[in-house]
Every structure is written in structure tokens, then in C-alpha cells.
């Protein structure tokens, strides 16, 4: 399994890359692999806000429907519209193909996320 060392992760298998008060978010390799062929992405709403851990989007594979949760609280600034017509990009490269950019409302929440090492250890406890 591929874990990008420069990102932070959640136990729900989202990643975030933090720059200042902005965070670029996506789903991890574990998530895309377990979902299988991704065929639909319901993108977050621009200007929509979500608390930490709240559902902001939906990712569907042939068999499964999964919520995507906001790694930290914030407001959605940008979404990756390319995923609407090419959801399979998340299978091809889930770290290159981000889902949304959010404005982080409470930077202290970032400290609660897992770094790559902790996330790898967490994944090792699963199936």
C-alpha cells in the first residue's frame, strides 16, 4: 500500500496537505483500493462548511457507496471538477488527484490528525 509521507491522514482514510490556513484533501490509497473501481464522485459544495469528521462528499465504486469526511473543520474553497467526468482518476493516483481545498477554521484540529507513520501503523491493524 502506498502512503505519501508528506501528508496527514484520518482513520476514515482521507488525507490532507496543509499550507497556511488552507488544506488540500483527498482519499488514501487504502480507501481507493478497498472501494475498487470508482465510478462516481459527488463533490463537496463550494462555500459549504463542515465540522471535523462531517461528511462533505460521496465516492461510489461499482459495489460500494462511501462518504468522504472533512479531515478538519472548514469551508470549501475549490473542488476538483475533473473527477466528475473521470472519477477513475482516484484509482489511478489518489494523491495527485485531490478532491477539494478547504479553508481551515481551527488550526489546532490539524494536530489531531495522523502522520504517515501513525497512519501506516493504523492501517496495519486493519484486515
Amino acid at each position: 500500500m502506498n502512503i505519501n509521507e508528506n501528508l496527514l491522514y484520518t482513520v476514515e482514510h482521507e488525507w490532507i496537505s496543509v499550507e497556511g490556513n488552507k488544506g488540500r484533501i483527498g482519499i488514501s490509497d487504502y480507501a481507493q483500493h478497498h472501494l475498487g473501481d470508482i465510478v462516481y464522485v459527488e463533490l463537496p459544495e463550494i462555500e459549504g462548511s463542515a465540522a471535523m469528521g462531517e461528511s462533505i462528499g460521496v465516492i461510489e465504486s461499482v459495489k460500494a457507496v462511501a462518504s468522504m469526511y472533512s479531515p478538519v473543520g472548514g469551508t470549501v474553497l475549490e473542488v476538483n471538477e475533473e473527477l466528475e467526468s473521470a472519477p477513475e482518476l482516484l484509482n489511478e493516483d489518489c494523491y495527485e488527484n485531490w478532491v477539494a481545498v478547504i479553508e481551515i477554521s481551527d488550526p489546532s484540529e490539524v494536530d489531531m490528525l495522523l502522520d504517515a507513520k501513525a497512519y501506516a501503523a493504523f492501517c496495519a491493524t486493519l484486515d
Partner: protein, 370 residues
Amino acid sequence: MTLKQTPLYQMHLKYNGKIIDFGGWELPVQYEGMGIIKEHNMVREQAGLFDVSHMGEVFITGEKAEEYVQNLVCNDVKSMHDFQVMYSPMLYPSGGVVDDLLVYRYNQQKYLLVINAANVEKDFAWMQENLMAGVTAENVSGDYAQLALQGPKAQEILQKISDTDLESIKFFWFNPKVKIAGVECIVSRTGYTGEDGFEVYMKPAEAPLVWEAILEAGGEQVSPVGLGARDSLRFEAKLPLYGQEIDQDITPLEAGLGFFVKLDNDDFIGRAALLKQKEVGLKRKQVEFSMLGKGIPRVHYDVYKDGVCIGQVTTGLHAPTFKKPIGLALIDVKHSAPGTEIDIIIRDNAIKAVVGQGIFYKKKTRTNIK
């Protein structure tokens, strides 16, 4: 509960199957390195090999076997010839479906019924409850493994390791003694994908050998296929799944399976209820639909028209062949005309869809072999 394994479990591990609990059976949903869409396309374009050993088998034997089976199912068993196969629903007196099954006729005193894995106990109990003098029902599910080889290349591949000219097995016929890779098998030209292909039954101990021989004979033209693509393939071909398109509360007439219901036959369980339903008129009906708005319809999602719930989705999927979502729904007959706009409720949002006709996969089964 201990999960059951088919005789091919070790093969699924060998080919990196992603194992799930499927109604108490440990079976692969897909194989590593392939995935549902690739496996699906493999069957449409070349060939795919499925382990369907979890399916149940029941032998019906005895002097009155024909009469018994005819009473048990709603299709026309009496019109069958030796070595013919017939699809039929099996009904409750209410007209609801106990299960759908394949009937293999050896002769008028011997039939093999192939039933759904999840229903084996219920079906067998039902068969025994309705047993008549001069008939024996024997559940032999544990004595048979079953493989399905499906796709346009299926015959070419299987022929390489068969002792019998497969062209001699017509669509929905079988040969009870074909040697595949030296193993004696029952082979029928049947399947659950909308493609040409075969279902092959053998003793459990010999299943891994046959499995490997088929993969070797097929080379690049065949790959193992899991339950995920089995569902998407059968769905695209509009083949019903028990528990979704049909169940104890849905009659075959409502599910659009009227072709398999022969009301002219003297009697069968459920006939009176279906005659009445036909006389009164159907209140709900299965329809095809495609999405106008964005989203993927899924089983059990509600269907609305003008703010009123008119039914539910029975299966919905992103159809790999069409690269877009389509669905089947059981809805109020008043809104079932092709072209009718309906709403599918996806995560509390009403998403526009339209009732269609003929939007599903045109089956490539070889119905025309002479």
C-alpha cells in the same frame, strides 16, 4: 457462524481473490489486479470463469417426477425433452416467489433442480412439504461443484479440453457426460451473463483440476471473475436476482417474467393467485430506467412521482458496458409507461430519471444453434 468454503477456495487465494462473506460463503468479490470493471469487460469481450459451487442442487426422481416438478414450478415442464434445461420461478400459493431455478430433465422420472445458494434450505423444505407419493427429493448440493465459463470465447476454450463436440449442446440443453480435462462433468449451455457460455458441474474434489485446466486452455483469453462482475453482468442483461427483482412478495408477472409463467397449464402452486392478478390487472410493474440527473441508483432507493412514493429500485448500478448508471425499479403501474419522468431519491435528494424500454444489454446467447 463458520463461513462455508467452496472446493475452489484455495484457487481463489491462489489468484488473489478478495474474499467476502456472501450469504455465509467465503467467495471472491473480485480478483486483485483485475477488479469488477475489467472482469466484466473480459466476459463481454473474451471469457470469464466463475466459481458458482455455492449454488444448490436437488435431484427429483420417481415415477411421478414430471407431475411433481410441473406442480412445483410455473413454467411448462411437460413440454421439455430429455436433456433440455428450463428456467422457472417456483411460487408460493400467494404467487410470490420461493426461488428461481433451472430445471434439468434427464427423463420423465429424473430431474435436477439448480437453486440459489441462499435459498437451499428454504427451497428443499418447500419441496419436501409438497412432496407426492412416488417422488423422492434429494438435496445433493454438497456433492457438486459448479463452474461457469461465459463469454464469446467460452466455447473455443472449453472445446480444447472436452471430449465432446460442444456445438452439439444447444442453448438451454445439457449433456450429462462430457469429459473436461478427463473429468466427467454435466455441461449445459446456460449462464447468468447475457453471453454465450456453459455451466459445468462436477465432483467437488475434481473442481480445482477443471478450474486450472480451463484457465490454462484459455490463456490470455480468460480470467477468473468474482461476484461483483457476476452481479453487474446479470444486471445489464436484465436477468433477475432473487431478493431484489423477485422475492416472496413479488410475483413473476410484476417482475416482467410472464414469459416463464404458463397459466394454460393444468395446475401449479401459485396459479390461482396469478390468474386473479392477471384478471384484476397489475398494480405495480418492473421498469427499466436511466438517469437524467447525476447520481447512481442503488437497490432499495425510493422512487417518487410528483412528491409521492411509487416504488423502489430493485437493482441500480453504474453499468460497465454502457459506462453510465441504469436501473430496474418496481413501481406503480400508472407511471410505468416508457418516457415517464420519475425521481430517484438519492441521499434525500430527488434526482430525475426516465422510464425506458430496451435500454439494457442485448443478450448474445446462441439461441439459434441448429
